[in-house]
Symmetry: C2
């Protein structure tokens, strides 16, 4: 089988490595940047460097467009134009509706099936490619009523064969879902960071920012080039989410100005339940429990704890460190999936002499 | 010197330990729960168990009210009533304006100086008390124009002597600042969790929640009893912050519906700068750099990394783990203060065979 990868960054490169490693497929790579393409060959992500899109897709059963979101409509159209009537063309962009609409009028639209793997956002570049990047990763596919079934099957099976978990979803639904769980958090983080900068930057008394602030603003201002494109590509769905949160916040403001402590406590309890619902949905290993540790904040203390848990085979789902202002003491929260696992972890941490409080999923 | 602690939980107990250890002071403790008071005596947080507020404050130079926010007005008034004309009365509540207003009319209001240590929120109970809980911790004090200078001096020196960093601030300004950096993030986290639960809970397709969502909702629904009280005690300032964010979000919604990619990119860049400004203000060790690692997600991998950094004396300011959906691979972000320290950390991590990308403060 021959696969063409148009755009050999982290995702395109990792896909090339995976299909070569696991399926023995031939991979033709094309990239507008010749240095990048050379690097892809060096790391084994492609078998051959194609000199053009037409060269790359010639004879390919599957063409994957792995380029920035704003260049995808032209790239996918070019790939459809250049490829044969049996070739499925897909992409890996993080929004799906705009592209689907842009391609809908193409004479070969039935050969295009949009895709979006949930993997690999932290590093970039073909040099960081890994054959196992998509192992177990959700890979959304957005076929439409006009999509050819045999091509969808081929693409689905290819992704499953490299260890990904393909799932079909309507493009609009995909974008709305991503707006909620990914794009909206970025907008809220931005708003919080900017509001705080506005009110606190008097130069004289900038407070130490605490843990909740840091967690809540961690993604504020993330990669402006990429995020400008994502916001643009999914602007309608993100704006809808922002409007929905505005309506909620207006209610909260009213509650704050008029409510009593009991009402505000009930409001907080509702949020607790909502978060649990969402967190538990994503963790097959059982509900997440949080272990809160008070520790001396010195080099090595995290290592001791993580090492002891690792030795006992306890997997840390998530971790957050919050050094106190003096940097001498700190709070560590460790999330572990499942009550039994959390119990073991708490015992191990206590054994090391740290005080530990276990909180159900907080 | 004699100190009275009214309410011996984590904060009251740790203060007792600190002044006994470091200043050789006598500590009289009072708590409405006799079991808690017994425990305080056992762990050495108090010298004597007082049978009443009057018994505790008798002969004390300093009285610290360390009880839940909603009980503080009555407790502080009772402490002022029972204590002598040379005694300073303070508290450790996380909001300050309401209490200051409640006490303003008291005939001994000049002996009350509000306080708020930024420490110890992660665990609770006198059993977790530590003499070093306040070492290097910011401790806000809220004297007013009527406060007696000699009493402020005594309180300020006591806190400095146990290693805290006292700082005077206007009660209203304190509450507004906490509204921005602590209370507002909780409201936004709640709104995000609840919005996501509303749109995504169709039972059939709850998505795995990603890292940005988890970070942004980590404090959603935190301790409803405590947070109901905090929201109530600081309702005006928090509502003002919520309203300000609503105004921002309404602008963002407009920008999303009308703006082009360049405008949205500029919006994202503004948020990046705002976050940097705030993060850098809190870290004397130099700007924070983020090291992004792609690693195999197995027990022990975090330990290896943290241990290697610890051995080299590199302190981890903050850490975030994001296992991929399959739990086999994962991204780790480590925050290190200062360019040089980050460079050393990156070299150590690379030496261990992990790919690492260093990002300035992202």
């Amino acid at each position: 089988m021959k696969l063409a990868v148009l755009g050999v960054g982290l995702v395109g490169g990792s896909l090339g490595l995976a299909v070569r490693d696991k399926l023995g497929a031939e991979v033709a790579g094309y990239d507008p940047d010749p240095t990048t393409l050379d690097r892809a060959l060096q790391v084994g992500a492609v078998d051959v460097e194609a000199s053009s899109i037409a060269d790359a897709v010639s004879g390919a059963e599957v063409v994957v467009c792995a380029a920035p979101v704003n260049s995808l409509p032209d790239l996918v159209a070019a790939a459809l134009d250049a490829s044969g009537p049996e070739t499925v063309v897909t992409d890996v962009g993080s929004t799906k509706l705009g592209l689907a609409e842009a391609i809908a009028g193409h004479e070969s639209a039935s050969r295009f099936i949009g895709g979006h793997p949930l993997a690999g956002a932290e590093t970039s570049g073909v040099s960081n490619s890994r054959a196992d990047l998509f192992e177990g990763a959700r890979w959304f596919l957005t076929p439409t009523a006009s999509s050819e079934g045999v091509l969808f099957d081929r693409l689905h099976n290819l992704l499953a064969d490299i260890g990904a978990r393909p799932q079909a979803i309507d493009p609009a639904e995909h974008d709305r879902m991503m707006a909620t769980i990914s794009h909206l958090p970025h907008v809220l983080a931005n708003s919080l960071a900017s509001r705080a900068a506005e009110t606190l930057s008097d130069g004289e008394r900038r407070p130490e920012v605490g843990r909740s602030f840091r967690d809540s603003t961690r993604v504020a201002g993330a990669n402006p080039a990429i995020w400008g494109e994502i916001f643009k590509a999914n602007s309608g769905a993100v704006a809808d989410e922002v409007d929905a949160v505005v309506a909620r916040l207006q209610e909260v403001s009213k509650l704050l100005r008029e409510g009593d402590a009991e009402t505000l406590r009930a409001y907080q309890e509702d949020a607790y339940r909502d978060r649990q619902l969402l967190l538990e949905s994503g963790h097959a290993g059982g509900r997440l429990l949080e272990l809160r540790l008070a520790v001396e904040n010195r080099p090595g203390v995290v290592a001791e704890i993580a090492l002891a848990l690792g030795r006992a085979g306890v997997n840390i789902e998530d971790m957050s460190l919050a050094p106190s202002d003096d940097q001498r003491t700190g709070a560590i929260s460790i999330w572990v999936a499942g009550d039994q696992e959390a119990g073991r972890a708490a015992a191990i941490v206590a054994e090391l002499g740290h005080s530990v409080t276990t909180v159900a999923g907080a």
